[in-house]
């Protein structure tokens, strides 16, 4: 695909284990902190308790919302969306009047409702009826569209771990094509017993704090959170005199076509997604100031990314934020895209926490300290279950 018009980002919101808003997340990351712990939100009867990055605070304020009766994944999405809307300086009235779409990535939004169905009260005469009614209205894109009374298209993407990045890429295309004036795009996922135990069953969880790209890495730690961007057409933005925060310059996605749970050994899908995203942005690898890696801390993921980065982006600094916030699944691509914009604004990236011992089998290593970056463009990638690869190119300059 040839170079396309950049899409303005005019507002952002984020919450995860690092903080309950974007600013507090950034302060936390640059302070080098992390607090993984066994899950509190649900009981675990596992012999080994695996640490997770849980949001412990009472983050959801129902008084701020017209439609507050949603489950945790929806609460995370609504909270991040409200922060993004406020940050964009756009009122509810304008949102209602404009053609505003919603595109949200998630993993467990539907499954949370399934859990309710599974546990339907056995004592009732007609169990499962109420949970089914709730299941019908469980997706986070719908929650946001209903809360802000939006009239545009909406989409809930369930591309496993790449869903958040895909949602932003697709939301940007809705702006470019004129389908929407604004798009509320991002990702959300809450911790959930089935994913927690499911990942343990796949034997790719670390029983200590995760160590992305480290020689002693043993797997991922799950996390939870949400991040939302307001994407806006230039016409709409200029009309209300809003300067862009950043731009979505390119998006690429490709499949490994290899195996359901293991990434392709040659990284071909990831390379194809990177190539598409760079072409769309009209940039080359040397224009990238830093890379936000998926960096889960699993043996295979980190090996493939390291191999691809050293080949396509030699000497370009990269980091993984999974060590700070865990793997937030469908939210990860969106959280890290929002973080990447903040890194560009600050001209620095935090250390890739958890990485201390270089792996002789990896051909590239992440940064070990807060690192100054030079340039206005970043690349953020996510790799997913099923072999999905999603790449965003983000910049501070639109031309």
């Amino acid at each position: 695909m040839n170079r396309v018009k950049p899409v303005s980002v005019t507002g952002m919101g984020c919450l995860c284990a690092a903080g309950l808003n974007l600013k507090s997340c950034m302060d936390f990351l640059f302070a080098g902190k992390r607090h993984p712990a066994p899950p509190r939100g649900f009981c675990s009867d596992q012999e080994i308790l695996y640490p997770v990055f849980e949001i412990l605070d009472d983050f959801f304020n129902p008084d701020l919302f017209n439609e507050p009766h949603v489950l945790r994944t929806g609460q995370l999405a609504l909270t991040a969306a409200l922060e993004a809307v406020i940050n964009a300086g756009v009122g509810r009235k304008r949102l209602k009047q404009q053609q505003v779409g919603v595109c949200i990535g998630t993993n467990v939004a539907g499954s949370v409702q399934n859990k309710q169905i599974q546990n339907g009260s056995l004592s009732e005469n007609f169990p499962y009826i109420l949970p089914v009614d709730r299941f019908k209205v469980s997706d986070p894109a719908f929650h946001i569209a209903r809360e802000f009374e939006l009239s545009g298209p909406f989409q809930t993407i369930v591309n496993a771990c790449s869903a958040g990045g895909d949602a932003i890429g697709i939301g940007a295309s809705w702006i470019r094509s004129g389908l929407c004036d604004m798009v509320i795009a991002g990702g959300t996922d809450a911790l959930y017993p089935i994913t927690y135990r499911g990942f343990i069953s796949l034997m790719n969880c670390d029983d200590g704090p995760c160590k992305p790209f480290d020689a002693h890495r043993k797997g991922l730690n799950l996390g939870e959170g949400a991040a939302i961007m307001i994407l806006e057409s230039d016409t709409c933005r200029k009309k209300r005199g809003k300067a862009p925060e950043a731009f979505i310059l390119g998006y690429g996605s490709a499949a490994d076509a290899w195996h359901f749970t293991a990434p392709a050994r040659d990284g071909k899908g990831l390379c194809m997604a990177i190539e598409e995203a760079l072409n769309m942005a009209g940039l080359s690898a040397s224009d990238i100031a830093f890379i936000n890696a998926h960096g889960t801390g699993t043996l295979d993921n980190d090996r493939i990314e390291s191999q691809v980065f050293s080949s396509l982006f030699p000497n370009i600094p990269f980091l993984s934020t999974k060590g700070y916030v865990g793997h937030t699944l469908g939210a990860a691509g969106a959280i890290e895209a929002v973080f990447s914009i903040e890194y560009l604004k600050q001209g620095r990236i935090p250390s890739s926490v958890g990485f201390t011992n270089p792996d002789s089998e990896l051909s590239a290593c992440p940064v070990q300290k807060i690192t100054e970056i030079f340039g206005k463009t970043a690349l953020s990638d996510t790799l997913a279950f099923g072999g999905n690869n999603s790449v965003l190119v983000i910049g501070m300059e639109g031309d």
């Binding site: 695909m1 396309v4 209602k96 939004a109 539907g110 499954s111 399934n114 859990k115 169905i117 599974q118 546990n119 056995l122 169990p127 499962y128 009826i129 089914v132 019908k136 209205v137 997706d139 894109a141 719908f142 209903r146 009374e149 939006l150 009239s151 298209p153 909406f154 989409q155 809930t156 993407i157 369930v158 591309n159 496993a160 895909d166 697709i170 295309s173 470019r176 094509s177 389908l179 089935i194 135990r197 499911g198 990942f199 069953s201 796949l202 996605s253 490709a254 499949a255 490994d256 076509a257 195996h259 359901f260 071909k268 899908g269 194809m272 997913a384 279950f385 099923g386 072999g387 999905n388």
Partner: protein
């Protein structure tokens, strides 16, 4: 360049393949199968429209399917049938995007009413079952079996899943990201929804199946069924739905009166209506079958007689009660969601009306 439907693959209670669907349209009837649901309140006998997946072995050896569950197998069969229908099994356009819509996702039929918690644990501790329960399982397996590196997307949006998936397929083709997209929907017969329909006394039985479409950008309209002209999604509270002049509307009613009676309010006077839900049953991605029926109608220049039970809501003259010749009319497949959202996919016989 117009977006053309090059091939269609459908699997449902009516059989598999576009010819099986055409046969169901001609007879106007598909017999449901008895379904037994074991519930905490004892066994419930009801009916449904289960899909037979035996034709899948024409495309994939049985051995390769041993860890692939019923849900994903339905998607695979729909996808291969669409390629076969387009005569592109051996030479499909590359890269090809893959977009899979699902309302229930891949986990729904894992519930067990007798001992739901044990099934929950079963999913948790079996890596295979956990992997297959991830919502993008079907799309991922399609890419693996086809060795397709193109963009791969799964959307899960209950009864708006199909228009949502078509919207993105259309966008990808319009912006020339790709030359071809395989887009479709799949939902498995869910004991939960079968139980729900039984106790809610739905006149429409629960169905399952998949409907897949190979869409391409192409100037030669004679190659396919017709064009996808437009996809609209939005909120009913914020205005009316705009239909093309003299269009035909295929309504994806769900059998619940409170939901189905809303269609009448949004259909203009000059638009005739039809519903075919009785041929495939109630499932969130049922609109996919409507799109297949509309495409078939465009190709054959005729609209089959409505078989769905919509006479409560529309005057007889408004319903396509008998087979009708089409005269360059556009066909709008419409779904009104349970949540005041709408999705509409408009098909056109030619690109000239674009």
């Amino acid at each position: 360049m117009p977006v053309i439907i090059r091939g269609i693959g459908v699997v449902g209670g009516f059989g598999s393949g576009i010819n099986a669907l055409m046969q169901a349209l001609q007879t106007g009837k598909v017999s449901p199968k008895p379904m037994i649901i074991d519930s905490v309140n004892g066994s419930i006998e009801t009916g449904g429209f289960p899909a037979d997946l035996s034709p899948l072995t024409e495309f994939i050896p049985l051995k390769a399917l041993r860890r692939i569950d019923h849900y994903t197998q339905m998607a695979l069969l729909g996808c291969y049938l669409a390629l076969k229908d387009a005569d592109m099994i051996q030479s499909r356009p590359c890269p090809m995007g893959i977009i899979v819509a699902t309302g229930y996702g891949s986990t729904c039929n894992r519930f067990d009413f007798v001992d739901p918690l044990s099934v929950n644990d079963d999913i948790c501790y079996s890596p295979t079952k956990f992997s297959n329960s991830v919502h993008n399982a079907a799309a991922a397996h399609i890419s693996v079996f086809l060795k397709e590196y193109g963009p791969n997307l799964s959307v899960n949006h209950f009864d708006m899943s199909i228009p949502s998936a078509f919207l993105t397929a259309f966008q990808w083709l319009e912006e020339k990201r790709l030359d071809a997209v395989m887009v479709g929907g799949v939902d498995e017969y869910s004991k939960v929804m079968g139980y729900y329909g039984h106790f809610m006394k739905s006149p429409l039985l629960t169905g399952e199946g998949s409907a897949f479409f190979l869409l391409t950008r192409c100037n030669d309209n004679s190659l396919g069924y017709g064009c996808i002209r437009d996809i609209k999604m939005g909120n009913l509270k914020n205005g009316n739905i705009n239909f093309p002049q003299n269009a035909i509307a295929v309504l994806n009613t769900d059998g619940y009166g409170i939901s189905d009676q809303r269609y009448e309010k949004y259909i203009p006077e000059n638009v005739q209506v039809a519903s075919y839900v009785d041929l495939y049953g109630n499932l969130p991605v049922g609109m996919g079958f409507d799109i297949a029926i509309a495409a078939l109608g465009l190709k054959e220049k005729k609209m089959y007689a409505s078989s769905g039970n919509i006479f409560h809501y529309f005057a007889p003259s408004k319903i396509i009660g008998t087979e009708k010749q089409l005269d360059f009319q556009e066909i709008c497949c419409l779904k009104l969601s349970t949540t005041d959202q709408f999705g509409m996919v408009t098909l056109s016989p030619t690109s000239s009306s674009r």
